[in-house]
């Protein structure tokens, strides 16, 4: 029995992705511990907390990326800023 992480096939980009995700989650937890938010209505059709908005924002951003990959041959970096902007929009006004 050898406990290595080799079987998980880590790469630098995915590692960075997870670290960023983890930092965002940790930041959200700290923010909500210090100043708990109540659900509110924005432009989304349901009352949401910041956690729910973050989830919806990230999921929809991923789908934007997938659509980009599926429909165009252009670089992902073109759509990336728009996706991040979308997450921010959802977080603030969603």
């Amino acid at each position: 029995m050898h406990l290595t992480l080799e079987w998980m096939y880590w790469t630098r980009p995915t590692a960075i992705f997870f670290i960023v995700l983890f930092v965002i989650l940790a930041a959200m937890t700290i923010w909500q511990t210090l100043a708990p938010s109540v659900p509110r209505r924005g432009f989304l059709p349901l009352a949401t907390t910041p956690g729910t908005r973050l989830f919806l924002g990230i999921i929809s951003a991923i789908f934007i990326h997938l659509a980009w990959i599926g429909l165009t041959d252009l670089s992902l970096w073109i759509v990336f800023p728009f996706a991040v902007g979308w997450i921010i929009v959802v977080m603030i006004w969603g």
Partner: protein, 291 residues
């Protein structure tokens, strides 16, 4: 919703979090890692960025599997929902018949999924099956689920309806029982017809449970694996290759880790969205029941 506010309650959930993180987060991280690489063998891999996603998203066989999947789920729901409601309406309201019909109706739900497949193979085979024999020799219509795609689909639909309609019936019945007797009395006084009673009283009151049933059935039929696997292994050809079967063929059959990883993630994300809808419905039904 006046629960005690206490962040130390986190401690009570720690065992669950550790266990589920072990069986969920670690594998998901691995899948994400696979999806950006072309893995040739132990320790031999090449970072390819989003190439795998591009290949998967443009793979016609995958599109076919996806449409097949949606078609299957839609057909199954179209049959199971009305049939389940009818069954619930036909079930007795009191007496010994209640327990009896509950037990009998639920029986198919407790049969292992691969046994369901075996039951139906034995039942529809032209040589030894009652159904297959009847269709082929008595009605004279050729029927062979291993050779003709349409027959495989018919068998699969029968199997799925036979297997899961009870779930819809159980939920609809629970919804019916929750309607207070007063409503029926009021309908009687108004001289309302049985059809009107159903349309204006029973159906609206069952809306919550039926939405749960609809989503549960949709999600489970979306993940179907064991039954078509046992029945024909996804065949004939690719006629019953649904998403899960396709994925298992890629992952465990061809050990094509990169492609399987990218496919897994797309599949998972679709389910995640469905899950979110389901969660919202569950929360609202819970609220409605308590007031």
């Amino acid at each position: 919703m006046n629960k005690w506010e206490n962040n130390r309650a986190w401690l009570l959930t720690v065992p669950v979090l550790i266990l589920v993180a072990f069986s969920s987060i670690i594998p998901l991280m691995t899948v994400i890692n696979y999806s950006v690489q072309d893995i040739m063998g132990e320790g031999q891999s090449l970072f390819v960025g989003t190439e795998m996603f591009k290949a998967v998203l443009r793979e016609p066989r995958l599109h076919e599997a996806l449409w097949r999947q949606f078609l299957f789920s839609a057909l199954v729901l179209l049959i199971e929902m009305p049939l389940g409601v009818l069954l619930a309406l036909a079930m007795p309201k009191k007496g010994w018949g209640v327990s009896f019909s509950l037990v009998v109706i639920a029986l198919p739900l407790l049969i292992p999924w691969n046994t369901i497949g075996s039951i139906w193979i034995i039942f529809v085979r032209p040589d030894i099956g009652l159904f297959g024999h009847f269709i082929n020799n008595v009605l004279g219509i050729p029927f062979d689920h291993t050779a003709r795609p349409l027959d495989a689909w018919i068998t699969l639909m029968f199997m799925e309806v036979w297997h899961w309609t009870p779930l819809v019936a159980l939920l609809a019945y629970a919804g019916l029982r929750a309607i207070p007797e007063v409503y029926y009395q009021a309908a009687k006084i108004d001289g309302s017809s049985p059809w009107k009673t159903f349309w204006y009283i029973q159906l609206p009151k069952m809306r919550g449970v039926l939405t749960i049933a609809l989503l549960l059935r949709f999600m489970d039929s979306f993940l179907i694996y064991a039954e078509p696997f046992v029945l024909t292994g996804g065949g004939p050809g690719n006629a019953t290759t649904f998403l899960s079967i396709y994925l298992v063929k890629l992952a465990l059959g061809q050990f094509d880790l990169g492609t399987a990883g990218a496919f897994s993630l797309i599949y998972f994300l679709i389910v995640e969205v469905l899950c979110f809808v389901f969660y919202q419905v569950l929360q609202n039904v819970g609220k409605g029941a308590k007031t």
